[in-house]
């Protein structure tokens, strides 16, 4: 759920085009003329309108009611939702915005999922915590335009001036007479009207909102989910469909050299064994090859796969070993690195410091383990392809399927199912490409590719392993005067270009070079680390290791100085101001792809969430022995989040988390109820990361395979009382990300609490048994 790779690829292709002139660049790269549909500031008549990075995304934004809204004669309003639903609630919240602005009655609204088509619908990459951030304004405009069209249709019907009509709660009223026409009655006439010009639209005054900002609307799929009717990609059934499972190379870039196709074919129900060719790196999202077994049901395919007995040639990554790699990363972090941001003179300040404190932090690989393992069904026949898949990137998937098959995008239909979790894994459409390859091989028979949990855990795009080395210098007054931070982590860019062997600017902007700390001598460096597996973005991405190191280090310094960790954190942040590192970074400050002017780094907001979380948690109150509170804060995805985690550690070293207080400032909040659910979920995922998350490699292979050895949090293991405190913000405060920003502060707040409770400082994740030793 994160970074915009397709956009980056375009940027790489168009590097000679001025980066500032993003629109032009996109038009020249892909002819995406719809980019003209973005809203430059002032495009429509609303004083609160602001710019976002939406226009720089493939497809930009679209707000035309003719695309998103249709009304049946009985008044049923159908709203198209173009972002993928993976649990954040965007499939409810964005249509709710349209419905509110158009004065529709939510009880009469139906939601329809758009297929992948970014020319028609605008950008569909559901990652980077962007759905609300980039689409609340276009969807408001869409609703306002629909309302204007309905009003116009009524005015024409009554042959009265436009000023005499007003849309209200699913009908248009003739104000002087009080007579009215329902939306269903006006639908046909309204649909024939042209889309109003953007600068004629009047948005509702926020005081008139029925649904926006209220959190009272139940999620769209609630009934289906609770009755087992909700359809995910694993659940797709197409007439005549076959089922496939694939034996994939256990080591990235490995190849199958020998297998027993006959034995697999002997399993009743198996219909075909198909070899899938490997793809060299950088493979983007292309399947890495393997041997597929296609059968009449999943069970037969699984039995057939067991019978294959594949022998692999492991290739260049066979030496990947997590223990050794950790040591190599540590070595790299002990040497001067490439300077990524530089302020003052760190070397001189450290040399002159009264005291130098240095610590190292390690976070291993992680994996998304979405509850629904990846799955896709494809039918490739007569030069056309149709896909049903749980993809976060419907538009990108369409392009990739078209590219794979060598057919125009117009001949590819990507139907988006519900996603049983995404977290960034399902931004990569390898599983949909596999299904297309196999259906083509079968001459057009639909094929469903089922990933098992073991497939999922062993053939993922892993959250990057990382090693952070932080050195701080204190002066005679115990002020932090120097901060040198070396970050070592293989880059996800290795999927898209020759391995850069260090974090790219895009990863550095996730909590490293955008640090707001008020330290006069500051140097942020990267060290070399080679990607030996596929690295992928995982909910909040490099914010996790960066926040863990920085926010732990601040608490370590506070402890060293005997200071209150919250007060010391506020001192590190410094006074309320705009921090602008754009001139001190050596490449580029990636501001999540959004304009700096709309979303600067505002330490006033950062301080405010720290203070709010502390106050709500009762920071400083006396706790029983064995209990403690920890605090951490992070600006990520343009949102400010602080968490206070309370822990209780028993004499055997078992940690529970009786309470979490999280304050979030995400600008204007469209759906507080879903924001709370994201924060609760982020705490659970954060606690999983802190306690368990650990993908390790040995001989190039992932050592884990299922939930027995890749543990995730279960009920009752903590974070059962998570309280979300949303900072109030008016419609004029730009909405920012929500899906990811709850994760980064959790682990450091948790370990700071563990320290407060036990005096033990944990710097190597996961926690595992470190407290019981």
């Amino acid at each position: 759920m994160n970074v915009h790779i397709r956009n980056l690829e375009k940027r790489m292709r168009i590097e000679n085009v001025s980066r500032r002139n993003m629109l032009k660049g996109i038009v020249s790269a892909g002819g995406l003329v719809v980019a003209a549909q973005i809203f430059p500031r002032g495009a429509f008549a609303d004083e609160n309108q602001y710019n976002t990075g939406a226009g720089g995304m493939p497809g930009g934004t679209v707000w035309d009611p003719h695309v998103f809204v249709s009304i049946a004669p009985d008044g049923t309003v159908t709203i198209v939702t173009h972002r993928s639903e993976m649990g954040t609630g965007s499939r409810t919240s964005l249509p709710m915005v349209v419905a509110d602005e158009m004065e529709a009655d939510w009880a009469k609204v139906k939601i329809v999922q758009a297929p992948g088509d970014e020319t028609k619908y605008g950008n569909q990459d559901t990652d980077g915590s962007r759905s609300i951030r980039h689409f609340v304004q276009p969807m408001r405009a869409c609703g306002a335009a629909t309302r204007a069209m309905l009003e116009k249709a009524a005015a024409l019907a009554w042959a009265c001036p436009d000023t005499e009509v007003r849309a209200q709660n699913h009908k248009v009223i003739h104000v002087p007479s009080g007579k009215s026409l329902g939306y269903g009655e006006l639908a046909a006439a309204a649909a024939k009207l042209p889309t109003p010009r953007a600068n004629t639209l009047t948005l509702k005054d926020p005081s008139q909102f029925r649904y926006i900002g209220k959190g009272k609307v139940q999620i769209t799929d609630m009934r289906d989910i609770t009755m087992g009717k909700a359809m995910y990609a694993q659940d797709i059934r197409i007439d005549g469909m076959k089922y496939a499972v694939i034996a994939r190379p256990p080591v990235v870039l490995g190849k199958a050299v020998k297998y027993d196709a006959d034995a697999a074919m002997k399993v009743p129900g198996v219909v075909k064994v198909v070899a899938i060719a490997p793809t060299p790196m950088p493979a983007k999202f292309a399947p890495l090859g393997g041997v597929a077994v296609i059968a009449n049901n999943t069970w037969a395919a699984l039995r057939g796969r067991e019978a294959l007995n594949v022998q692999w040639e492991d290739g260049p990554n066979a030496d990947y070993d997590s223990d050794k790699f950790k040591q190599a990363m540590a070595d790299s972090a002990h040497k001067p690195g490439k300077i990524e941001r530089n302020e003052g003179d760190v070397d001189a300040a450290l040399a002159g410091a009264k005291k130098v404190i240095e610590h190292e932090y390690y976070i291993p690989h992680g994996h998304h383990a979405t509850m629904e393992p990846p799955a896709a069904t494809a039918r490739v026949a007569n030069g056309k392809a149709e896909v049903w898949a749980c993809v976060q990137s419907p538009g990108g998937t369409r392009g990739d399927v078209a590219g794979l098959l060598g057919i125009p995008e117009a001949d590819v239909t990507v139907n988006v199912t519900l996603l049983g979790g995404g977290f960034g894994r399902k931004s990569k459409c390898d599983f949909a490409l596999e299904a297309a390859i196999l259906s083509k091989d079968l001459g057009g028979t639909p094929v469903k590719v089922v990933w098992t949990r073991e497939d999922d855990i062993r053939h993922g795009f892993y959250h990057s392993v990382s090693y952070q080395h932080v050195t701080a210098g204190l002066d005679a007054n115990n002020k932090v005067v120097a901060w040198r931070h070396r970050s070592v982590s293989p880059s996800l860019m290795s999927n898209f270009m020759p391995d850069p062997k260090r974090e790219s600017s895009l990863e550095l902007g996730l909590g490293l070079i955008d640090t707001p700390f008020n330290v006069p001598n500051l140097r942020l460096e990267t060290g070399e680390a080679v990607a030996k597996t596929r690295i992928g973005w995982f909910r909040s991405v490099n914010n996790i290791p960066h926040a863990f190191a920085m926010q732990s280090m601040v608490a370590e310094l506070a402890a060293e100085l005997g200071r209150d960790p919250k007060d010391f954190l506020l001192e590190m942040i410094g006074p309320a101001r705009i921090v602008d590192p754009r001139s001190t970074v050596t490449s580029e400050l990636w501001n999540y792809g959004d304009p700096w002017e709309t979303y600067p780094i505002d330490t006033g907001r950062l301080r405010a969430v720290v203070e709010r979380a502390a106050k709500e948690a009762g920071w400083g109150k006396k706790l029983p022995k064995g209990q403690g509170m920890g605090i951490a804060v992070q600006r990520s995805f343009l949102t400010y989040v602080a968490s206070v985690v309370q822990v209780a550690v028993d004499k055997d070293g078992n940690v529970s988390v009786p309470r979490v207080d999280t304050a979030i400032d995400c600008g204007f909040c469209v759906n507080p109820e879903r924001v709370a659910s994201q924060i609760e979920g982020a705490a659970v995922m954060g606690l999983s990361i802190a306690k368990y998350t650990n993908i390790t490699f040995k001989n190039g292979r992932v050592e884990q395979g299922n939930f027995n050895d890749y543990k995730v949090l279960r009920i009752g293991e903590g974070a059962m009382d998570v309280r979300t405190h949303i900072m109030p913000a008016g419609i004029n405060v730009p909405s920012s990300g929500v899906g990811e920003p709850g994760v980064p502060p959790f682990a450091p707040a948790f370990f700071n609490a563990v320290y407060a409770a036990t005096g033990k400082r944990i710097r190597n994740l996961p926690l595992g048994e470190q407290l019981s030793a």
Binding site: I225, T226, M227, G228, L418, L419, G420, R453, G716
Partner: protein
């Protein structure tokens, strides 16, 4: 062999080792029983066999011959089992994928124990993973449903 699924008699002639989950999903199209891990570790495939919660991925067809299986689709005719209602009232789901299994597990608990303690709820639900992290709402919803059935 015969097995009753949601009160309807069904015949199965395939591999007796085939897990019930694949029979329900692939043969009967009852996809409310979800595939999460395949080895009894996540609870996504939870159904009732003769009224008890069972992981459908971990029992073979030979083990359910002659028995009565209830899936999420058969839990209640109108979808208004007290657990389902509580799920809606508490806005439990995020992605929703684990939820049929959670609901079936919660419903089985309340069949067995109308007044479960907090510890009993946590113990009963500990085999059901929710990667989205809806646990605090799951817990609240089961308590609410327990109040209704009590």
């Amino acid at each position: 062999m015969e097995v009753k699924v949601n009160k309807q008699s069904r015949t199965f002639n395939g591999d007796p080792q085939m897990p019930l989950m694949w029979f329900l999903r692939d043969e009967l199209g009852l996809t409310g029983t979800k595939f999460g891990c395949g080895v009894g570790l996540c609870g996504a495939c939870t159904v009732h066999v003769d009224g008890k919660a069972v992981r459908a991925c971990a029992v073979g067809m030979n083990e359910v011959a002659g028995k009565s299986v209830t899936t999420i689709e058969g839990l209640s005719a109108d979808g208004n089992h007290p657990v389902q209602k509580a799920w809606r009232a508490e806005n439990v789901p995020q992605c929703g994928y684990c939820q049929p299994g959670q609901i079936m597990q919660g419903a089985a608990l309340l069949l067995e124990n109308k007044k479960p303690s907090d510890e009993q709820i946590l113990a009963a639900m500990s085999g059901n993973i929710c990667r989205c992290g809806c646990y605090q709402r799951i817990f609240t919803a089961i308590k609410a449903a327990a109040k209704e059935v009590a």
